[in-house]
């Protein structure tokens, strides 16, 4: 029992990271009907920006002991940098294709993904880097379960960011505009919504969340490399599909389910199935509930 609860804790921490990435997929899909395959690589860039910021701050060394300040600075800096990256990507790669067939944009997204991965290997180097120690690890035993402070930070940061996102989407003018655009570009355009701005904002928001996931994973499993975004990107995509792509709470629940499923698979079956379980879930969702857990039936276009 203790072991099961412990595995759940492990799974939820991992799932929180997937959920943050999944949010970016689902928001962009909700608004543009585009699966932004470069999103996993934005998460990688986020981790690397954090790595270099952390090194600039000398985090974890004797001169600058680990502190919460460093963490917030690195988190904020990396989110800002990736927000900019998301803005640029949308402006240069996707906006020119807005009116093109959807497949063109999808292929472009794959191209951007490869570009970021290879640029990453060129600029950052192909070998893994050790993420700086922003916060000293300690563990707390609560009854039968052991929590680390990092796990708490991962979960807490994710929850705060998700609540912030819910606030933006449901309580602000921009959020209302986002929801309107997701229903119909043309109608919301006629109502005076600046569609380009809304779409840019969506990319900025999604990329910032991916960057936060990158920092959290750097904190949690401090080894980063330029290809680190591929698998989590795919898993987050499956999480978004599982929750019902385009649905924000769905992405969060999907991410958590993916994390727990993966951890339980490794813990009770074999680590060999770590990645396989992702695709088993994907196939299962597509077979039995193609719209996902929270998805609504898509209107068929012939």
């Amino acid at each position: 029992m203790a072991q099961f609860v412990q595995q759940l804790v492990n799974g939820l921490s991992l799932g929180a990271i997937y959920a943050l990435i999944a949010l970016g997929y689902t928001m962009v899909y909700g608004i543009l009907r585009l699966i932004n395959f470069a999103h996993g690589d934005v998460y990688m860039v986020g981790a690397f920006v954090g790595y270099y910021l952390g090194r600039m701050l000398n985090a974890g060394s004797a001169s600058a002991p680990p502190s919460a300040w460093n963490f917030f600075l690195v988190l904020g800096g990396s989110m800002a940098a990736c927000a900019l990256l998301g803005f640029i990507l949308e402006r240069t790669a996707y906006r020119p294709l807005r009116r093109a067939p959807r497949l063109n944009a999808l292929i472009t997204a794959i191209g951007i993904s490869l570009l970021l991965e290879n640029l990453g290997q060129l600029i950052f180097g192909a070998d893994p880097k050790d993420f700086p120690t922003l916060i000293e690890r300690t563990s707390y035993s609560v009854g039968i379960v052991v929590f680390s402070n990092i796990q708490l930070i991962v979960i807490a940061t994710s929850v705060i960011l998700m609540l912030g996102l819910q606030y933006i989407v449901h309580r602000t003018k921009m959020g209302t505009a986002m929801r309107a655009v997701s229903f119909s570009h043309d109608a919301s355009g006629l109502m005076g919504v600046n569609i380009n701005r809304v779409i840019s904002f969506t990319f900025v928001l999604g990329s910032a969340l991916a960057a936060a996931a990158g920092i959290l994973v750097g904190l949690y499993n401090p080894k980063i490399d330029p290809l680190m975004g591929i698998m989590p990107g795919l898993k987050a995509f499956v999480a978004a599909v599982l929750g019902g792509i385009g649905n924000i709470p769905g992405a969060i629940v999907g991410g958590l389910i993916m994390g727990v499923a993966e951890t339980l698979t490794v813990g009770y079956l074999s680590s060999t199935y770590r990645d396989a379980i992702t695709f088993v879930i994907l196939v299962g969702v597509l077979l039995f509930r193609p719209t996902g857990l929270f998805g609504t039936t898509a209107r068929a276009k012939v």
Partner: protein
């Protein structure tokens, strides 16, 4: 008409170009040098292995060339990076043999990658000496494949004996890399020997190279309540695993194999690897004359104290060059015969005697990580 002329000109150009290319590729390699190929992981997951190993080889080459080379010819080293990937290793070995026409090959540290390159060298009849691949399968590839280090059957026995007899800990757990020949082999020999000695493998978990989250496996292992976790993997994963074990407040001893031998183990693992043990080929603290000379020369040339990959690779290069000198020829079969006759060759990491299976029988050292430094804990003779 014009169009046709253009076309024929174009064709003629193509023909000329292909002749030129053919001439370039088949032109006899410069006969005044002896070409030695090196394939190593200069980038990727185990980059420190390849860099350290190549540095060691370069030291041997510089020394020989300063003394006038082999058979009166200078040694030309051709170094290829396999990016820590087996498929890339096969490719660069093919290139070294077909394109660079090397007469001997030195490399890889990792068994999986040597196993990818060795069949190609074997088929071409080019002798290959691996400095540090310990998996027994490596030299079974064929009679052109040699090694200058001990094998995992010995290393596994050393680690098992150390845990069960020296530390007196009987409840053992194994966390191995299922995608890695070295790790799987070493785990196997550890299990067999530990069980013979009365130890009990309470749980055996696995991961795949490149994984970063081991908490699920560690939680499962914790449930079995082991006293030792044996981690026969490479340094990148070992450091992360140690950190996550510490996070779970587990009271265990960590023991590893020579795959831990990299400065990165301590950099990544930090306080979590403090007190851990691992089996290795040499210790920089060794007071023997050869080790002291080598370490001093290495520090002078590269500015840091080498891990075992550098002296092992230096030994491998010395052995190959001496064999070519003795063979008096660069013919593959003659070099092979000269290498297989090696007896009591003085190496930095101990004397090398190549046995009938083309392996070296050598002593192992058990190192302990103590305040971030590697201290000799024990020396185990074969």
């Amino acid at each position: 008409m014009i169009r046709q002329m253009v076309k024929s000109n174009w064709l003629r150009g193509l023909a000329l170009l292909s002749i030129a290319l053919l001439a370039m590729s088949s032109c006899a390699p410069n006969e005044n040098v002896i070409r030695i190929g090196v394939f190593n992981s200069l980038t990727g997951g185990t980059a420190t292995f390849g860099i350290s190993s190549t540095n060691g080889i370069k030291m041997a080459v510089d020394e020989w060339n300063a003394r006038g080379g082999i058979l009166g010819k200078q040694i030309q080293l051709i170094v290829e990076d396999d990016q820590s990937k087996p498929e890339e290793a096969a490719m660069v070995v093919t290139k070294l043999i077909n394109q660079n026409r090397v007469v001997g090959i030195l490399g890889e540290v990792a068994s999986s990658r040597t196993l990818a390159g060795a069949p190609i060298a074997q088929k071409a009849g080019i002798p290959l000496i691996t400095p540090a691949s310990t998996n027994p399968k490596v030299t079974r590839v064929g009679d052109f494949i040699f090694r200058v280090c001990f094998t995992d059957s010995f290393q596994g026995a050393v680690c098992a004996r150390f845990a069960v007899q020296r530390l007196g800990l009987k409840r053992l757990a194994i966390l191995k890399d299922v995608k890695n020949e070295y790790s799987m082999g070493l785990a196997n020999y550890f299990r067999k020997n530990a069980e013979l000695l009365g130890g009990q493998i309470v749980t055996e978990e696995s991961y795949s190279e490149g994984d970063t989250d081991f908490r699920a496996q560690i939680t499962t292992m914790k449930g079995a309540n082991p006293e030792v976790i044996f981690i026969p993997g490479y340094y990148t994963e070992a450091g992360l695993i140690a950190k996550q074990v510490a996070e779970q407040n587990m009271n265990v001893r960590l023991i590893g194999g020579d795959g831990w031998d990299s400065p990165r183990t301590v950099e990544i693992g930090g306080a979590a690897v403090e007190g851990a043990f691992f089996c290795n080929h040499y210790s920089a603290e060794d007071t023997s004359q050869m080790v002291r000379t080598f370490v001093a020369a290495h520090v002078k040339k590269y500015g840091y104290v080498p891990d075992a990959m550098a002296p092992l690779s230096y030994d491998a290069a010395e052995l190959l060059f001496t064999a070519i000198q003795k063979a008096g020829s660069t013919e593959g079969t003659k070099i092979r015969d000269a290498i297989s006759q090696t007896r009591d060759f003085p190496g930095v990491c101990g004397n090398i005697t190549i046995d009938a299976e083309r392996n070296a029988r050598k002593a192992a050292v058990m190192l302990q990580i103590n305040q971030g430094k590697l201290k000799i804990y024990d020396v185990i003779q074969p």
